[in-house]
Symmetry: none
Subunit: 245 residues, 2 copies
């Protein structure tokens, strides 16, 4: 669970409590507002989650080792740039990643306005909680609880449904034994491609930011494997080297 | 939603907010501790739920008109006297009642100790949230959110079950505006990338054929869209042009 710029320490504590309730251990806090957030009294029963929580200056660093980064939030005022998955069907994706040895981050934005467009560019997919369209804005601690409940309940539900025909067919696009690239590797690749784009004057000045942004989204959308990423990185490094010499 | 003897008005407000999030309207509060509970500031987006909430002196009166009363809480320290249903499979029971014209109450106990044995005697069934046995005690507002989410998500999930399973690979047919690249486009891209690889001396002579081959396989494996393909093609053409001039 990654909380980006949470303002109220009580909400950090509430998130930690929900993690303890549903058996999740690794909390990361990005650029928290209150320096004393580890003392949140609302983290009842979750001392370890707070004590061991990592603090990062940026979201990119927080999710560097993750192979699937899931952004949360209301999409009412925002046109999504990634695939949107409804929370009730998220769990199989998460499970698949973990079974393949991947690591998954569930990212929550600040209380007031949620994740920014830049935050979202680190996300492979967005998850939407099926709320009433008249009141989609959830309390942060409640949103964390609902998401973690859904993941924890999935196993239970899957067992219950095991009499029904198995519908969780294997994803044909996922190669056996293929390892998904971690977010940090993708970010490194994006940086090198970005340098190449600058070196060859690919973008007019006014389009540079947009093109960088779009390229980062594209890399995440492709579901690149670790070897693929390394191969492409090698090619672009070679291109850069050639351009500079 | 029935809250029995809630101590903290913030929790009443949080429950009201979750109700608004998931489209539930009728809140009842039994013997609340704070007389000013209707002013809870945490009821963001849920003024109607608080304003129209009923206050009852006893649980018996609060659920008098209900045909199915569902008690919630941890059963760790208590031997259940009713049928216990796990939350992930509660929704069909609730739905059935409502379709038969019944009314359902979801009853939550006070923060500290939950529903008493006497409270539970008003319940037809007990629902258990599948929490980690080491930390089963949930925050009241989070417990309400999780239960209401489950009921709201049930309809969604039932619909999804009749469709294909979710998978991380995008279904290219469902994404608006995105069309899968034709094989010819991919081949054109492969050719241009190949030229770039030659231009920067990416491959040792003995590896050239293998690397070209692998790159073409990679491009197909990624399931590139037509626009993605055009974007990457543009970048590599620009790189080639720069290398040659």
């Amino acid at each position: 669970v990654v909380l980006v710029s949470p303002r109220n320490p009580l909400n950090i504590g509430a998130a930690a409590r929900a993690m303890a309730n549903f058996g999740f251990e690794r909390l990361a806090v990005v650029a928290p507002f209150a320096p004393n957030w580890r003392e949140a009294r609302s983290a009842i029963g979750a001392p370890d989650q707070l004590l061991n929580a990592a603090e990062h200056p940026t979201l990119g660093e927080a999710v560097a080792a993750c192979t699937l980064v899931v952004g949360t939030g209301s999409l009412t005022y925002r046109k999504p740039e990634q695939r949107v998955v409804q929370l009730p069907v998220l769990a199989p994706l998460v499970r698949q990643q973990i079974e393949q040895g991947g690591r998954v981050a569930l990212v929550f934005g600040p209380e007031k306005h949620g994740l920014t467009r830049e935050d979202l560019s680190f996300c492979h997919i967005l998850v939407e909680i099926p709320t009433d369209p008249r009141q989609p804005s959830m309390n942060l601690g409640q949103a964390v609880a609902v998401c973690l409940y859904e993941l924890a309940a999935h196993a239970f539900r899957a067992e219950e449904a095991s009499c029904a025909p198995a519908s969780l067919a294997e994803d044909p696009c996922t190669e056996v034994g293929r390892h998904v690239a971690a977010s940090g590797d993708l970010e490194l690749l994006a940086t090198v491609i970005d340098k190449a784009m600058v070196a060859v004057d690919y973008s007019p000045a006014t389009m540079r930011d947009k093109n960088s942004h779009d390229m980062r989204l594209l890399l995440r959308r492709l579901g690149l494997g670790r070897l693929d990423t390394r191969r492409i990185l090698g090619l672009f490094r070679r291109i850069l080297w050639r351009l500079e010499h």
